[in-house]
């Protein structure tokens, strides 16, 4: 446990929710989180749903992607739990999952991308940090392969 500084307050790393997009992203994110030695990790993959329109990616394919991502997370955190959410609003789904698993924090790695791309794909970082009810940890980009 990494709580030598303040024994009394809630440990922010007690149960980290780790939203991951794909295998590479999952591995990079988990590796970035690894040095901080979180106690418990739950990997989350949000399958983007159209809710009224067909999805951009076949659901079955998204689920394969989720399974690969969880496997990648487990190469770093073997005991990590996993959770798959289905929603149109990815950030909202992350918050819901955080509440449901009782996460102490959400750790994520910005996927980068220019301003235009962030706009088009709906700048998740901004929404994530502005609306969260639990602490949000932005992981460093160090030695990711991107």
């Amino acid at each position: 446990m990494n709580s030598s500084t303040n024994e009394t307050t809630t440990d922010i790393l007690a149960h980290v929710l780790l939203p991951v997009g794909n295998e590479d992203d999952a591995l990079a994110t988990a590796t970035a989180l690894e040095p901080y030695e979180p106690e418990q990790v739950t990997a989350l993959h949000v399958v983007e749903k159209g809710e009224g329109v067909p999805d951009k990616t076949p659901v079955e394919q998204s689920e394969e992607l989720a399974a690969e991502s969880y496997a990648a997370v487990r190469t770093v955190f073997p005991d990590a739990d996993d959770r798959t959410a289905y929603a149109r609003d990815v950030v909202e789904a992350i918050f819901d999952a955080a509440e449901e698993v009782g996460a102490s924090a959400i750790a994520y790695r910005s996927r980068g991308g220019g301003r235009l791309m962030q706009f088009l794909s709906g700048d998740l970082s901004l929404k994530l940090v502005t609306n969260a009810e639990v602490p949000v940890i932005a992981l460093p980009q160090a030695d990711s392969k991107e």
Binding site: N22, E48, G50, P54, K56, P58, V59, Q61
Partner: protein, 754 residues
Amino acid sequence: MSDEELAKDLGLVSAMTIGIGTMIGAGIFVLPGVAANAAGPIVVVSFVVGGLIAMVNALSVSELGTAMPKAGGGYYYINKSLGPLFGSIAGMGDWMGLAFASAFYCIGFGQYLAVFVPLPEVAFLNPIQIGALIAGAIFVAVNYIGAKETGGVQTVIVFILLSILTVFAVAGFFAFDYATLVGSDGLAPFGTGAILPATALVFVSFLGYAKIATVAEELKNPGRNLPIAIIGSVGIVTVIYAILVSMMLGVVPWPDLSQDAPVAQAAQVAFPESIGPIGGVAAGAAAIMTVGALLATASSANASILASARINFAMGRDKIVTNWLNEIHPNYATPYRSILVTGGLIIVFIVFLGRDIEVLAKAASVLHLIVYALMNVGLIVFREADVPEYDPDFTVPLYPITPILGAVLSLGLVAFMDRIEIALSAGFVLVAVAWYFVYARGKTTQQGVLSDYIGNREEQLPDQVVNAADAVAPNGTEGPTIMVALANPRTESALITLAGALAKHEGGRVLATHIVTVPDQTALETAAADRGQIDATSESLLDAAKADAEAFDVPIETKTILSHRGIEEVFDAARTNDADTVVMGYGGTQFASGRAEGTLDELAHDLPCDFLVLDGQDLDLSDVLVPTAGGLSSDLSAEVAKALQETVDVAVDLLHVVDPGAEESGRTFLREWAAEHDLADAEIRIETGDIERTIERIGRDYSLVIVGATERGLLSRIVRGSLVFDVIETLDTPVLLTERPSSRSLRERLFGRE
């Protein structure tokens, strides 16, 4: 709610709008002018006939869709029923049909865009093609990025369209003049013979309903909603087409109806110039119609591009196309390659065939009609073969008349197409067949229900049928998959040699896996960071494996698996890859590393397939000894020995150890056993004494000893280190331990010789 239910978020209305939204773009906004010009006012009948043909097929699609609510639609059903050869044709037909249809919708979009905006002429491209190319590029980009349509936009678009069209219909009703409809040459100026060729042209207006089936896995309550949406949307658009087209022709005489933007033109005429003080009503109505047309063609094209990615995915899942195509974009989470390839095709079609919208429309129809015909045949096969998994919630009425009628009508309509579209489509069918034999046949593992059906009735069916079925059967599964779990470069060659010999003997393939175990305690930090190094090690190991397997001329696939779980991962990988045999090193016991013994015990007690465990690093195969006392696992030993005998020409000796005095009965047993296992030419040795000591003493002179596990779960105990297998430990000669799972037959377990 289960995950599966969470993934389903399309209700009946959404499903219906997918169908209507895709169909209505073409039928109302693009084709009436062209079709009326070819057939005269009787073209209304052509639309109704098209609707009826679509309806018959819609019934079949509904049955298949409720039986298998899977991504892929028509392709999936055909691949499942008629096998991968027809699956390839259907997949190619569906995919290219959608690309042609998308190109057609883009041209329609360009036609209306050209009404609004002056577009330039570039090189050999007319302004409409330029508009279509712009549209095509935008649709592809939207799907590539997966920019979110705000929820329900499709629904809103369809409702806007329906309201616009209703207003249009009302205005048209007042402007309708029967004399205009009839014109000077009567209802059928080209005779009734013009009806069916016009149906062939406008059939593209009905292609949307099957797209509902391609997203069936996302539908809530597909058993109910799928048939209602499919049949309902066909019914609704047929009625809309009949009303609106009659109305347009009653407003504008058919020879004058615009070939490019008929609805805008008809609106201009149908609406009064001014209502009270408000002027410019007609021009405004025409503008609104133009916007409607842009929305309609855009949503059609969009839905088609999306559906084509579904079909690619389904084909990739069955290994008919490479999964490279279905890679998901790391940032946008879209199947971007599939979308780009489809987009490229659309652009090629627009550029080279875009001057003649009829060719695009008919090529799309021909390809879809071929798929519909195959689908109806597939339905009959499912019903006749009486597959237990085939349990549709909706069944077609009047079986078998409906599917037969569907197939006949679909192919019949193809006959009314022109030569060029038939030739184009035939070309794609041939490409699909060639593709199947050159590429897909060796990859796919899917056998159709049809070939099972034929295979199971070999005696009752004529030889030609059986031979024909065999000739086109996939050979991806003809032989077993021999999975090799590699961990150590020193044992690589020996393990691959065994696997290669087996694969060659049984006509199978080798799957070499490098399972990189990342120990829990130490390597956490480095595991991922060292990925580069792991990759390099893996690569050289797997390359060596490839080279060794090539010596046997057997197909080999390689895979690196990064795992914390060691031996469990071997079991997992064997299951997920459908391995028939796993070959691994005795050193693989190091995999166990003391974790999760309970689970491991369970796993090893329930072997997913045959296991061969080799103790020894160098194999210099010249002669093998197979000690046996019968039993399942020594059947496996015999198979391995036979394979080695045939492929690397080793001498096989059989050994049976008996109590003193029982030599003669032992000899009889072993002779029979040898004959049963196709090893009658093997040398037979009968010895007396302690089994293990005898094996040790005699085994010394051989290059390999193959020992069958004498009891169930032996492997598990060895792996866990709870049993020291003396023979393996004391014999210098390499030992191959074989274990065959016995769980598949209770009888064997109860009565088998142990």
